[in-house]
Each structure stands twice: as C-alpha cells, then as structure tokens.
C-alpha cells in the first residue's frame, strides 16, 4: 500500500482545489455542462492522477499504463481538468470545453484527445468497456498488476448494462478491475432515493462477487488506503463506494440536486439564483473558504 505523508496529502488537496477552480472556469466558459459530479469527484481525480495511476502524460499510449475509464462521461470536466493539470495538454485549452472544434467534447471522445481511454456518456457502457480491458489484460497476463479503474456515477447504476457488466466481472474474478462509485446521492430529477432507490449497494455488489469498500470520498487518505486494499484483492473485482457531497467545495451548490446538470450562473431563473455565483465559487476555492488570501491577489 502506498502510504501518504501529511505533506503529500496537503499537496493532493491543493491539486484538488486547482481542479475545482478549473472545473468552474470551464463550465462558465462553456455555458453548459454538469457541476455537481465534477466538483465532488475532484479529490478522487487528484488522488488518481497524482498518486495512483501508472501513466506517462508525455506518452499517453504507453502500453504499461493503467487504464482509467470514466463511465459517467458527463462529469468529464473533472477528467479534463485533472489531465490538464497532469500535463497531458495545456491548462489553457480547458476553456474550449464544449466549443466547436474542441478536443474537449461535451462528453469524452477517445478519437480526439490522447490520454482518453474511451468515449463515454451513454451511461452504463463504460463499466462494460473496463471489464473488457481487464479481461483482455488478464488473458495475456494472468497475474497482472496493471489496473483498470472505472469511475461510475450512482444514478448510472440504474442502467441494466451495469449489472450485466458486474455479472461478467464477478464471474471472471477480475482482480485487476477497481470500480469507484461517486455516491453523491443525486441525479438530474432529484435524489436517487426518490428517483430510483439504489440501496443496498453493498449487498448488490457483494452478491455479484465484488469486494466492497465504503469510504468518505473527500478523505484522500481514506480513498488512497481503500484503493491500496482493492489492489491487493485477488479472485474478485473491487468496488469502492465513495460517499461524496454533491458539488463539494462550493458550499452554495452542495447537496442540491439541481446543480447536477446546470453550470454556474446558468440555472433556471425560478429555481437557482443567478448573478455572480461563479465568481463567488472561485473566490471561495482560491481562498479555501476565506481562510487564506491568495498570493496573487
């Protein structure tokens, strides 16, 4: 297991903060897109891109790399932001999100951006692709330590294809597959418990032969330890249910399902206050909620 020092944790938290700021800037520039998931997954993406993944941003096609499959394609702003901060491409390119001709499509397109493992957006199919990658790798190398990480939403788990994929992963005992569920409890139409209850997710995955862990998705040390344990599981795929606070990091957006599919400043007027939300959000992120004064201000 990869132990993280307090300094390393602080550095990863700072990366997560950078990623959150980029997410806000991208969404404002795009004028559309999803807010909640990208913000609440920033800690996990910072951990993955800056500590977990075996990868080489300068050589995205490096054969020995781990694979990261974003099944919940709609939260791609956090993926793009993490990739840019990891130097897959210039951070300046982030604001082209969703624009005509951009490599940063509204939902990821593998053919346009090196470093993307797949195109995704239609929910459920990313997990199947991750299963295919893990299967193919294990065919060639039964004791592989090359991991396939798959990020899903929680509303996404309502798709039947997820459970088709889970069945195959469990049957094939894919120890090199680690699924991370963003359990933020919201989806477009409301709270998951109202739209279509998902619990008990633990029991569901366990019955499909998964090793199941539940963590605080904002506690980087805890997620890091859980991934370390998942890597050591043999004869079973792993799932880490990451309990997150939707839109984490910007308190005015947190826990409100209406931010699932709306960008800052673009909410329906009757439901969400407009104005300078984005500036307020960025200010809060830059000052860590007012605790510090950024050196450049």
């Amino acid at each position: 297991m990869n132990y993280l020092s307090d300094t390393e944790i602080k550095n990863l938290e700072a990366k997560a903060n950078d990623i959150r700021q980029s997410v806000i800037e991208m969404l404002v520039a795009a004028g559309s897109g999803h807010t909640a998931g990208p913000l609440d997954m920033a800690d996990i993406f910072a951990l993955l891109y800056f500590n977990i993944l075996k990868h080489d941003p300068k050589n995205p096609a490096w054969e020995e790399r781990d694979r990261l499959v974003l099944s919940a394609g709609h939260i791609c702003p956090v993926l793009y932001a993490a990739m840019a901060h990891a130097e897959y491409f210039p951070v300046e390119e982030l604001v082209t999100l969703r624009k005509y001709g951009s490599r940063l499509q509204g939902h990821p397109h593998r053919e346009t951006l090196p470093g993307l493992e797949t195109s995704s957006g239609p929910l459920g199919s990313g997990l199947s692709q991750a299963v295919g990658m893990a299967l193919a790798e294990r065919m060639d190398n039964p004791y592989t330590s090359k991991f396939v990480y798959c990020i899903t939403g929680d509303g996404e788990l309502q798709e039947g294809q997820i459970w088709e994929a889970a069945m195959l992963a469990g049957k094939e005992q894919l120890h090199n597959l680690v699924v991370i569920v963003d359990r933020n409890a919201i989806q477009i139409d409301g709270y998951t418990k109202d739209v279509m209850p998902l619990e008990s997710l633990r029991d569901k995955f366990e019955s499909f032969n998964f090793d199941v862990q539940e963590v605080d998705g904002h506690n980087i040390r805890m997620v890091n330890d859980a991934i370390g344990k998942a890597q050591s599981v043999y004869g079973q795929p792993s799932v880490i249910i990451a309990h997150t606070i939707s839109s984490k990091g910007v308190d005015v957006f947190e826990r409100d399902f209406r931010w699932h599919g709306n960008p800052p400043g673009k909410g329906p007027e009757d439901r969400i206050p407009k104005g300078e939300q984005a500036e307020v959000a960025l200010e809060k992120l830059r000052t860590l909620g007012g605790m510090i004064i950024p050196s450049d201000s």
């Binding site: 053919e111 199919s125 199947s128 692709q129 299963v131 990658m133 069945m167 195959l168």
Partner: protein, 330 residues
C-alpha cells in the same frame, strides 16, 4: 453467362446446401490460428452461431457473456482497446438489434476493431417467428459511421468475409442466415471487402435490359430467375453486392449504365437496406428506374424458410413475376 468461378451445380438439383453461419465458424477458427489476438465472445448462442468451433480450439480466448448482448458489445470494445480483435456473435435481432446504441457509441464512435456477427437474420429463420427475424439490421448498421456491412451469399463467402474482417482494421458487421442455402461460389471466387462481383452477365444483343443487384443468401434466387429470363430471350445480369457499405460505386456506376432497369433483391425491409443504398447513390449520379424486392413494411411470421421467402415475394418465382411485369418507358 455465369461467372466462371461460380459452382457449376448452381440452378440444378445437385447444388450443395449449407448454412452460411458454418463458414463463419470455420473462418473464425482459421483467423484464430493466424492471429493470436483474435478472440470470440458469445451471448449463450455458441452452437447456433458456430462460435463453438473457435471456443473448442481456443478456450482461453473465448468469453461466454451470457444473455447480455449490450454488455457483450461494450466488453468487446474494451478488449479491442487492449489490442484484441474481438468477434461478437448473437442473433441479429439482439446483436446488433438490442445492442444498437452500444455498437454505435462504444464500437463505431471509438472506431474499435470489433467484428459483429448477426446470425439468424431474415425471415428464413423460419418457425421462430417475427420476434427472431431481423429484417431491419442492414438499415440500422449502414447508417453508423465507420461501420462496414457485409451480407455473404453462402458459406464459402462467409468464411472469406470472416477472414477478411479479421484482417480489416475497424468495425465490421457480417449478416448471416440460419437456413441451409445453396453454395453459389467456390474457393476460386474473388472476395474483397467493398467489392461487388458480377455473377451473371447478359449477352450484348438486347435493347431493354435488367440489372439485378442482390445481397446475401438470395443470390441463388436472383441467379435462377435471371437464368430463366435469359433463356426466354431477355437480357438480365446479376451483380452480387456482398458489401453493402461501403458501396462499390465504381462497379455500380458502370452496371447501372449498362442496364435499362435496376432490380434490387434482399432478405430485408425494402426501406433502408441494399435497395435504399443503391437508390441513394443512383439518384445522385445516373438516375434510373429501380425496382426494390424485399419485405415491404411488414413483420415476418412463423413458417418454413422457403415458404416465407416465397410468401414475402423474394423467391425465384416472385422475382420472375416482378421483372416480367416491369413496364418500360416508351
């Protein structure tokens, strides 16, 4: 005159009859021998799709996906991303019928090197009835960018198509039938993805001529009808378009110029299939009258394969009747 490479027994009672899915099974095994990256996936139809031949030879390269066609399509895409050449087999109605969006997004949009085998296509599935008779698959597959669409005419061609698909880099759909059908071609018959072949050429003495374009297992019906019409003194040619996408437009253009009326024949809805593909191209290049033979906006039903082919107007007699009734412009 029949092309010299065709089986000499065609249009005779001695013609051999084999399901073209057999050719897939044999071709897949051979492709597996040639390339260790070839893998096969199946959705609980290993025997009837003939995937069992590969699975028996290479058990470690076979993935039994269970009855889950959508997952199978996307799993294959993931395997292709790791360098494998996956063949996924199921009944066409469900793969790609049920899994269309997964095929479109996770295979074609990714330009993943996955081969999709739609077995039991057409009404010739027979007694199982309309639920299992895919007569829309050519239409839904040919509208997907990056996708190649092939309907082999017999088992020999199905084997060649399978081997060619394994070597081709990119998504391919191969449409197969359940029923035993006449073996029209031989080992010597040319096959290349994207190339049409003239199977029967009219003689040069006619003013009004018919050019039949056929795809898939109805080739022998088209050839039988053309042979009879030529013996009656008409001038009828048959071109087999195994690859429906991309169209062999070069050969199609000259074929259209050489004939007065074009007749398309397919075991598929006349909407969206081969006939539509031909009409789309011809209307924009050398507009000509096109008579489309196929299923006319209805579902199939239970019955014996030949009985269904006949009752849905796609057998030799139906083709003869439709061509004889063509009224030429004065």
């Amino acid at each position: 005159m029949f092309a010299s490479h065709l089986d000499k027994r065609i249009c005779t009672p001695d013609v051999e009859k084999v399901p073209n899915r057999n050719g897939y099974g044999e071709g897949l095994k051979e492709a597996g021998e040639r390339d260790k990256n070839v893998v096969a996936l199946c959705a609980d139809l290993t025997g009837s799709t003939r995937t069992n031949i590969f699975a028996d030879a290479f058990p470690d390269r076979f993935v039994q996906c269970g009855i889950a066609e959508q997952n199978m399509a996307s799993v294959a895409s993931g395997m292709a991303a790791m360098g494998k050449v996956p063949f996924i087999a199921g009944y066409a109605m469900f793969s790609p019928g049920r899994s269309w969006e997964q095929v479109r997004t996770t295979i074609a949009y990714n330009n993943a090197n996955v081969k999709i085998i739609g077995a039991h296509a057409g009404v010739s599935v027979g007694p199982d009835g309309a639920t299992h008779q895919a007569i829309e698959d050519i239409a839904i597959m040919r509208v997907i960018p990056n996708m190649v669409v092939i309907a082999p005419c017999d088992s020999i061609e199905a084997k060649k198509a399978t081997l060619a698909a394994a070597k081709y880099e990119g998504p391919v759909y191969i449409r197969l039938a359940r029923d035993k059908t006449p073996v029209v071609t031989t080992e010597d018959s040319p096959f290349e993805i994207g190339k049409a072949e003239i199977f029967l050429e009219k003689d040069q003495t006619h003013e009004k001529t018919i050019g039949i374009i056929v795809t898939g297992i109805l080739a022998h019906h088209a050839l039988s009808a053309a042979k009879t019409l030529n013996e009656e003194g008409m001038g009828v040619s048959v071109m087999h378009m195994a690859t429906i996408k991309p169209l062999d437009t070069k050969k199609l253009d000259s074929f259209v110029l050489e004939h007065t009326v074009i007749v398309t024949v397919e075991e598929h809805q006349v909407a969206g299939g081969l006939g539509s593909a031909i009409a789309e191209h011809v209307s924009a290049t050398n507009p000509k009258r096109i008579v489309r033979i196929g299923v006319e906006d209805s579902f199939g039903q239970s019955g014996e394969p030949e009985e269904l082919i006949s009752n849905y107007g796609m057998d030799t007699d139906s083709i003869l009747e439709k061509i004889r009734n063509i009224e030429y412009e004065k």
